[in-house]
Amino acid sequence: MLAALVALPFLAGGAAFFIHGHKLRRVLLVGTALAQFILVALCWLTPPPPLWGVLALDAPGLLVLSATAGLFLAASCYAVGYFHREGEHDHAAFRARLHFANVPEAIFTACLLLFLGAATLVAVSQHLGLMWAAVEATTLASAPLIYFHRHQRSLEATWKYLIICSVGIALALLGNFLLNVAWQTTAHADIPMTMPAMLASAGKVNAQWFKAALIFMFVGYGTKMGLAPMHTWLPDAHSEAPSLVSALLSGALLNCAFLGILRIHQLSVAAGFGDFSRELFVLFGLFSMVVAALFILGQTDFKRMLAYSSVEHMGILALGVGIGGMATFGSMLHLLCHSLTKAAMFLLAGNVLATYHTQVIRQVSGVLRTLPRTGPLWLAGFLALTGAPPFGLFTSEFTILRAMFGSAAWYVPVIYLVCLGLIFAGMATACLHMAFGATKEGVPPQQEGLWSVAPSAMLLAGCLMLGLYQPPWISKFLHGAAATVAGQAPSFSFWPF
C-alpha cells in the first residue's frame, strides 16, 4: 500500500517525460492524481502496514498526505484547463514586454508528478534521513515548475528559490548529523534514525548536542516552510510561478516542511525539551505574522499578497504548536483549512491573471461582473483566508486564540490579534477593490470554463464545511494528530474509523 502510494507518482512522472501526445499525458496526470487520492482515502479506512521499517503512516503524516492528495487532484483538474489556455506557442509576455516561451508541457507534467511523489514520501517517511532527502527532492522537482514561463522574473525567482532553500535544507542535514551525535551513547552505536526508535530512546540524549541539532533543523526546515526571517524566497517564487504551482507550493510544499519541524518537536518533547522547542515555535510564529502583516499592507501585487498571507498562516501554524494544549489541535485544523483555502485562492488568482493580464491590484477591478463565477468565489476565499466566521480558518484561529489565554504571556495574544486585524484590513482593501468597481475597458465579461472554477469551488466548500460542521471522525483524527505532535499519544493509535 505505502509502496504503491510512493511509487505511483514517481513512475507516472517518469512516463510523462516520454509521452508525446498531449491528450494521453493530461489523462495520465489527472488519472494519477485521482488514483493517488483514492489510495489515500483507502489509508483512512485501514491503516497501511509499515514498510521496510522506514515508511509508515501516522496521524500527522496522514493529515499532510491527505491535504497534498486533495490539492493535487484539484490542481491537476485545473491544469487541464490551464494547458488548454496556454497552448504551446510563444506568446507575448504581458509583464516586462518580453517574449517568452513555456517549458515543454511534458517536462512540466513530469515535474508535477515527481513533486507529488516527493511530497508523498515526506509524509510517509518515518526515517529522518529519508525525510530530509524527500524534502530536498520536493525543492528540486518544483524548481522547473516555477520556471514554467521562461522569462527573466520567473528565472530570478527560481534562482532565489534554489539557492535559499538548498542552503536552508543543507542546514537541516547538518541538524540530522548532530541529532545522530546527540543519540550516540557509545562510540560505535548504530543509531536507527527512525521516529519510533528515537522516541523510545529519547530519555538518554545528550542535551547540548540535541539543542544544537534542534536549532539547525528548525532553521533548515523553517526556511522551506517560509517562516520569517527565512521566508525571502517565498513571495518571489509564489508570485512568479504559474497559479496552479503556487497553489501546490503553498498548500502542499509548506506543509511538508512543517511536518519536518513537527517530527523534531515530537523528539524534543520525548527528550524533555518540549518547552525549549515551544519557545522557538512561538518566537518564529509571531515574527512571521508581524512580517507578513507589514508586507500585506500596501502590497501592490495580488499574488505576492497571497504569498505573504502564506507566511502569516505558517506563522499561525507554528504559533499554535508553540502554545500547546488545544492550540495544537487548532494548528492541525488550521493546516487543513489553510491548504484548501490558499490553493483555491491561487487558482482563482490564475483566472484573474489570465483575463486581466496583470498582477497589479490597482489595474484589476470589477471581477464580479467580468468573471461571474470567479468573482463570488474570490470574495468567499478572501473571507475564509482572513478568518471570517463561517469558515474553518475562523474556528482554528479562534481555538488557538482561546488556548493562548492562560498559557501564554500577555503580549502573545495582543500581537496575534493586531496582526490578524492589520492583515484583514490590508487584504480587504485589495480584494474588495478587485472584486467591485467598474469593469475594465478592453476586458469584456466572459464565462469561465468549468475546469478553472470547479476545483476552487470544491476546495472552498471543504473549508466552509470544516467551519460549519466537523464530522466526529475528522475531529477525532485531528485530536489524534495533535496528541501525536504533543507527545501525548503513541503515533499509531488514533485511526479515524
Partner: protein, 243 residues
C-alpha cells in the same frame, strides 16, 4: 592569488599566536597520519579557494577537495570493506570528477568575462576563513564530548569548511561561484557525517549524494538560462523582484 597586505598578515599572526600559545587543546587528533593529511588538505583548499580570484582555479581546488573527501571512507582506519570501497569510488567519481567537470563545462560555455571583485576583498575573505577555523577549534574544545571521539576530530575542519562555503556563497557575485560555495558547504556537512557513517546506512548516503548532484545540476542549468536571459551571471544585476 593576491599577496596578503600588512593588516591581514598581522591579524593572521595574532590568530596563529593565539592558537599556539594557548594551552594544548584537548581536540583529538586522528591517529592515522593519512587522515590528518586529508583533513589538512581540505582546510588548505578552503583558504586558497577564498583567496582565488579566477573561477577555473576554484574549480580545480574543488576537485582536489573532492579527492580528499572521497578518500575519507578508506582512511578511517578500520579494515577495508567492500561497502567502504564502493562508497569511496562513488564519492570520488562524483565529488572529484563529475561535479568539477560540470562546473568547467558550464564555465567554458559562458562568454568570457573579467573576474568580478567579491563583496568583501580577497584578503578579508581569507582572514574571515582563518578566523572561522579558529572559531571552529574553539567550539570543538568547548562542546560536550560526544560518545564517538572521532567525531570531535572531524568537527573543527568540517565546521570550518561549512563556514568557508557560506562565506564563498555570500561574498561572490557570479552565480557559478555562489554554487561553488554551496558545494563547499555541502562538502563540510559531508565531512561532519563521515565519522558517523556506518555500513547499514549506505543507501542513505547515496540518496543524499544523488540529491546534491541533481541539485547542482539544476542550479547549473539555471545559470545557463540566467546568462541567456540577462546576458550576465552577476547576481547584483538580477534584482527585478527586490522589495
Amino acid at each position: 592569488m593576491p599577496i596578503l597586505d600588512a593588516t591581514t598578515t598581522s591579524a593572521l599572526t595574532a590568530v596563529t599566536q593565539y592558537l599556539f600559545d594557548a594551552p594544548p587543546p584537548p581536540v583529538l587528533i586522528p591517529s592515522s597520519p593519512w587522515l590528518v593529511a586529508a583533513l589538512g588538505l581540505v582546510l588548505i583548499t578552503n583558504v586558497v579557494m577564498l583567496a582565488s580570484e579566477r573561477l577555473p582555479t576554484a574549480i580545480r581546488l574543488l576537485a582536489v577537495q573532492g579527492i580528499a573527501l572521497g578518500l575519507m571512507p578508506l582512511l578511517l582506519g578500520s579494515p577495508l570493506t567492500w561497502s567502504g570501497i564502493t562508497l569511496a569510488v562513488i564519492f570520488l567519481g562524483i565529488k572529484a570528477v563529475a561535479l568539477p567537470m560540470m562546473f568547467q563545462r558550464v564555465y567554458n560555455t559562458l562568454p568570457p568575462t573579467p573576474p568580478l571583485p567579491p563583496y568583501m576583498g580577497h584578503n578579508r575573505c581569507v582572514l574571515a576563513g582563518v578566523v572561522g577555523f579558529a572559531f571552529s577549534l574553539w567550539l570543538a574544545n568547548h562542546l560536550p564530548p560526544p560518545a564517538n571521539p572521532l567525531f570531535l576530530a572531524f568537527f573543527a575542519p568540517a565546521f570550518a569548511t561549512i563556514l568557508a562555503g557560506l562565506l564563498l556563497l555570500v561574498t561572490r557575485r557570479k552565480a557559478l561561484a555562489q554554487v561553488l560555495g554551496y558545494l563547499v558547504m555541502e562538502n563540510g556537512i559531508y565531512l561532519l557525517g563521515v565519522p558517523l557513517a556506518h555500513d547499514g546506512a549506505m543507501w542513505l548516503e547515496l540518496t543524499i549524494l544523488l540529491d546534491i548532484f541533481v541539485g547542482i545540476f539544476i542550479m547549473i542549468l539555471a545559470i545557463y538560462h540566467l546568462n541567456q536571459a540577462f546576458d550576465t551571471t552577476d547576481v547584483d544585476k538580477i534584482a527585478a523582484l527586490r522589495e
